[in-house]
């Protein structure tokens, strides 16, 4: 038995069957500060490193549990699944990739959406599942988000989306790109209906997700040290043929450059959202 092990994506999902696996390593290494830390302490702190406060990546379901009032989340649009419109194949068939991701994560695609209450206030709440093909946005993600925003308009409630995504899903080609247009259009309608959109950016939020709905929040919050950007750091470093400075594109950098409203610790996130929602509710 290992005394510590690398944090695997599986370990962060909420599926109860996997609790035995979670107990396997008593110690884990922080992705950010590389310190060896006691797992129980990390769990107690809400999956946050007790040494450097780095928030570990968590699943969509875990995220919803930390934000929605207990028992209030009612999932919508879970019946949408990918159709492989291009018949795409790289080293694997796209259909097989989707199936594998569904089995791995227990969700139908890279976002989980529904109605919930946050601090008693009704809202549409969507959370990305980064473990599902890097949280990439294809037709299903775009359609789920759009329907969720339309549901918010119909119910006259605000929208909260917690993003964690590498961007548009290549395997659906141009249709993935068009989800940027679709979600931005839905948010234009939400705004005209006088309803707010609170965007929460978590590690990582990049590419076509950042360049569409994620940066269109009336209020934009970010978790500490999250990578947030248009291009990924590797692409930028290759473009300018220079290494990038420490902290480049992290939440604190984006705050400094005026791109986000605030950087919020995970344990304060729910209360911060509640305070903002109260403002729009009064």
């Amino acid at each position: 038995m290992a005394w510590f092990s690398r944090k695997k994506p599986e370990e962060t999902t909420a599926a109860p069957r996997r609790t035995a696996q979670v107990a396997e390593g008593l110690w884990i290494k922080c992705d950010s500060c590389k310190e060896i830390i006691y797992r129980a302490e990390v769990e107690r702190a809400g999956k946050v490193c007790p040494k450097c406060r780095y928030p570990f990546r968590i699943s969509a379901r875990e995220r919803i549990l930390t934000l929605a009032d207990t028992g209030t989340f009612e999932e919508h649009h879970a019946n949408l699944t990918s159709a492989d419109p291009l018949g795409f194949k790289d080293t694997k068939r796209y259909r097989d990739r989707v199936k594998a991701a569904q089995q791995k994560t227990g969700v139908g695609d890279a976002v989980v959406c529904g109605l919930a209450r946050i601090g008693g206030l009704p809202t549409v709440l969507c959370a990305f599942e980064f473990g599902f093909m890097g949280g990439s946005m294809g037709s299903v993600v775009g359609e789920k988000l759009t329907r969720s925003i339309e549901l918010a308009i119909a119910k006259h409630v605000p929208v909260v989306i917690v993003a964690a995504s590498g961007g548009a899903r290549m395997q659906e080609g141009i249709l993935s790109l068009m989800q940027m247009a679709k979600t931005a259009t839905a948010l234009e309608q939400l705004g005209r209906a006088g309803l707010p959109f609170l965007s929460v950016l978590t590690d990582p939020t990049t590419g076509g997700v950042t360049a569409s709905f994620a940066m269109l929040g009336d209020v934009i919050l970010a978790e500490p040290r999250a990578l947030i950007g248009f291009a990924g750091p590797r692409v930028i470093a290759e473009t300018i043929r220079q290494p990038l400075p420490d902290g480049f594109q992290r939440s604190e950098f984006q705050l400094e450059h005026g791109q986000v409203d605030m950087v919020v610790d995970r344990r304060d996130l729910k209360e911060t959202l509640r305070r903002i929602l109260v403002f729009f509710n009064e």
């Binding site: 019946n79 699944t81 141009i174 247009a181 291009a231």
Partner: protein, 322 residues
């Protein structure tokens, strides 16, 4: 031969051969041969261009002699007054825009701009805009809206620039903001993909009521090279990625992403700029004419419905909980 693409070589050789025969002292002696060769050239040309694959089209879309936005502006509009700057940070030469007259009517024109020679390529950053380019485009589109003028956009970019300055000044926000504002703009918008439609950096000018595409233009979520590098760790497999991603005009029309294909002269727009512009003029006249009678509200609804429909997914009704 810097300007000849692989698949163009046999045609170029044949053309050179005919030209050489014509240049002889006694062309009459070779009249029959010339006629035969010309016939063969025409057949071969039609065969070649009727069966171009996605990668060959990508090469045509990036052809160094292909007309760029400013060339189309010169050929299509009676007058053009270029306007500059985003009023926030600077003026991005990778995006051009201004006030133009199309068949006597005022329109706002915005487009990506690539360079022709090395100096201009660098000055225009190879057609890859920074946030100030998108913000200039936004300012001009809103100017059009304010004065009830239609907006025409030309798309020809490898993508938005992935550099540190672009990130610091909010590349994502600039693109996202354009998408939202275009979704609600109360003027007609006609977008034309004239060359390369590279990802979000292209879409940021691309939310038209009508989206047209030149016959050999391409439009994709990521460049074929980028896609191949990510999927196979090998950018040299770009031709495969180009095929798999469905990036050609006929593919995009089938997927419902574009509304029309504008034919190009045989061999591509770079072979005959005037003919290419003439064909585009007709398509533009038609698209603007279709939209001319629509109210502001109708225009916005038309555009929003168009983008609302895009996507392909399966919906299992059994699991629907009402």
């Amino acid at each position: 031969m810097p300007d000849g693409l692989d698949f163009e070589q046999p045609l170029l050789e044949l053309e050179a051969h005919i030209a050489a025969l014509r240049a002889l002292d006694d062309p009459l002696k070779h009249g029959d041969e010339i006629a035969k060769l010309e016939e063969r050239l025409q057949r071969q040309r039609q065969r070649t261009y009727a069966s171009l694959n996605a990668w060959q089209r990508t090469q045509l879309a990036r052809h160094p002699k292909r007309p760029h936005t400013r060339d189309f502006i010169k050929l299509l509009f009676d007058d053009f007054v270029e306007l500059h700057g985003d009023r926030v940070h600077g003026d991005d030469a990778a995006v051009v825009g201004g006030l133009a007259l199309f068949e006597g009517r005022g329109v706002v024109v915005v487009g990506h701009q690539k360079g022709r020679d090395t100096r201009e390529k660098i000055a225009r950053n190879f057609g890859m805009p920074h946030p100030e380019g998108y913000r200039k485009a936004l300012r001009l589109m809103q100017l059009g809206e304010k004065f009830g003028k239609p907006v025409v956009t030309f798309i020809d970019t490898p993508g938005a620039y992935p550099g540190p300055g672009a990130e610091e000044r909010g590349q994502s926000e600039a693109i996202a903001h354009n998408l939202r504002v275009m979704a609600g703009l109360a003027s007609p918008i006609v977008s034309v993909v004239t060359g390369e439609g590279g990802s979000g950096g292209a879409l940021a000018l691309g939310m038209g009521n009508r989206v047209l595409m030149l016959e050999y233009a391409v439009y994709s979520v990521i460049s074929p090279e980028g896609c191949a590098a990510i999927l196979w760790g090998d950018a040299a497999r770009a031709p495969e990625a180009a095929e798999g991603m469905r990036i050609t005009a006929p593919d995009l029309q089938r997927l419902g992403v574009i509304d029309g294909i504008v034919p190009e002269p045989v061999g591509g727009a770079h072979r005959d700029w005037d003919a290419a512009a003439g064909l585009l003029r007709g398509a533009l006249r038609q698209a603007l004419g279709d939209l001319a009678g629509m109210s502001a509200r109708h225009l916005v609804e038309d555009r929003q419905e168009k983008f609302r429909r895009l996507g392909a997914f399966e919906e299992e009704s059994r699991t629907r909980s009402g």
